[in-house]
Symmetry: C2
Subunit: 235 residues, 2 copies
Amino acid sequence: MSDQTQDVHANQNDAVSLNDATLHYLDVIYRLTATGTEVANTTEIAENVGVSASGASVMLRRLAERGWVQLTRYKGATLTPMGKRVALRTVRRHRLLELFLHEVMKFEWHEVDTHAHALETSITEAFEDRMDELLNHPIRCPHGHLIPAKDGSLPIVKDVRLVDQCVGTAGILRLVDTDNSDWLKYLGDQGLKPGVNLKLKEVAPYGGPITIETQQHTHNLGRSLAELMFVEVVA
Amino acid sequence: MSDQTQDVHANQNDAVSLNDATLHYLDVIYRLTATGTEVANTTEIAENVGVSASGASVMLRRLAERGWVQLTRYKGATLTPMGKRVALRTVRRHRLLELFLHEVMKFEWHEVDTHAHALETSITEAFEDRMDELLNHPIRCPHGHLIPAKDGSLPIVKDVRLVDQCVGTAGILRLVDTDNSDWLKYLGDQGLKPGVNLKLKEVAPYGGPITIETQQHTHNLGRSLAELMFVEVVA
DNA sequence: GGTATAGTTTGACTGCGATCAACAATTTAT
DNA sequence: ATAAATTGTTGATCGCAGTCAAACTATACC
């Protein structure tokens, strides 16, 4: 309780009044650790934030000192529960923004990530809430990623990896798990966006292409693209 | 052409890639000098930016070194033509955002300034353009301020100060020149927003109140509020 | 098990935008 | 015209987030 206690306390509760850099790092670490991988390593983080590895290293120490991340030297970083709350708030804003940009501002689904990124740390809470209302409390962004609630909770869904299904499975495309603009544009142009009904027709062995069928077309997709797709199986 | 030439050149053309602080100062100086007053003085600027006078003084020197402002020591600052271009771009974004927040996001007219301020330095150019399209290339923000074009030009209008008109003059309210949320709320609640038809009924002498008449009501306004209002006179 | 290599951290330093305290210039009042 | 009050600038210093070069693990290979 010496002299620089003030903003630590302010921050504890509202995930909002943190600076851009902090929010950006926490967001990156969240995304890197959300997918199975237990810890995010320095180089990965540095690349995703867009700074040198040494820069990231320094910043990670700061974030650890402030209680946002759990750091094991020479190993990697994870978010503390507090850090995760903050990150989820940024993720919420990002995904709400993506949907807003798509639905209201009529941007293409492969463009929204960039613009959402520019805005995610600047919008006011009222703006966040207003988007949520306007969009009717949505659950997913245009790519199908889940939108966390303000308390950090995530909706429960039945997404499964398309490439893990057996041939003949039918389902609804729910998520295309990438923010790579080119891939999104390609898939979008083929009509492969969340909501579309599809059936798995063929899976070539040894990482080969897969064949899927929609109402209109049959598509042949390379494995790396196919691996981005998650579906809800329908009986 | 030594070693730190890069961003000076980048900035010269696109008013966009400047940091928040610079944009904020230029915006403030623009607003302070737009209304007749030839130069903006340090204290005024400091107050409007929200920093100490000494902080503003230092920053002003930096802005002068970089060619955005014309500085006369102990006198005050004005924008250079280059600085004015940049400022007008921020003003454009701010006012487009205000209208967007009002029309699309359904914020009240007294709320939009705050939220627009949070966003004005972060939006992408595409977002700016999209707002402009969506709103049909508007000319005024919700309070009636003019929206500069991307080249910095301002539409030509016939706004005149209400308090300078003689009793009996009828006109359309075009501009309420303040961003004070309380005053705006008060006037808005009375229906005194741009677009409304009104007639000047009485002007009390010695800075006393004025009386105006609209379709529905007769309003008595203190001089300071009345002075915010600009009208287009109709014959 | 010792060494090359990839990944990580440290140290010295930079730029930016602030602060406060002290000082200087300008303006106003007597 | 000088003193007092106001306004503006400077100097020292801070915190933040970055850089590069050098030093330091951790691990994988032979």
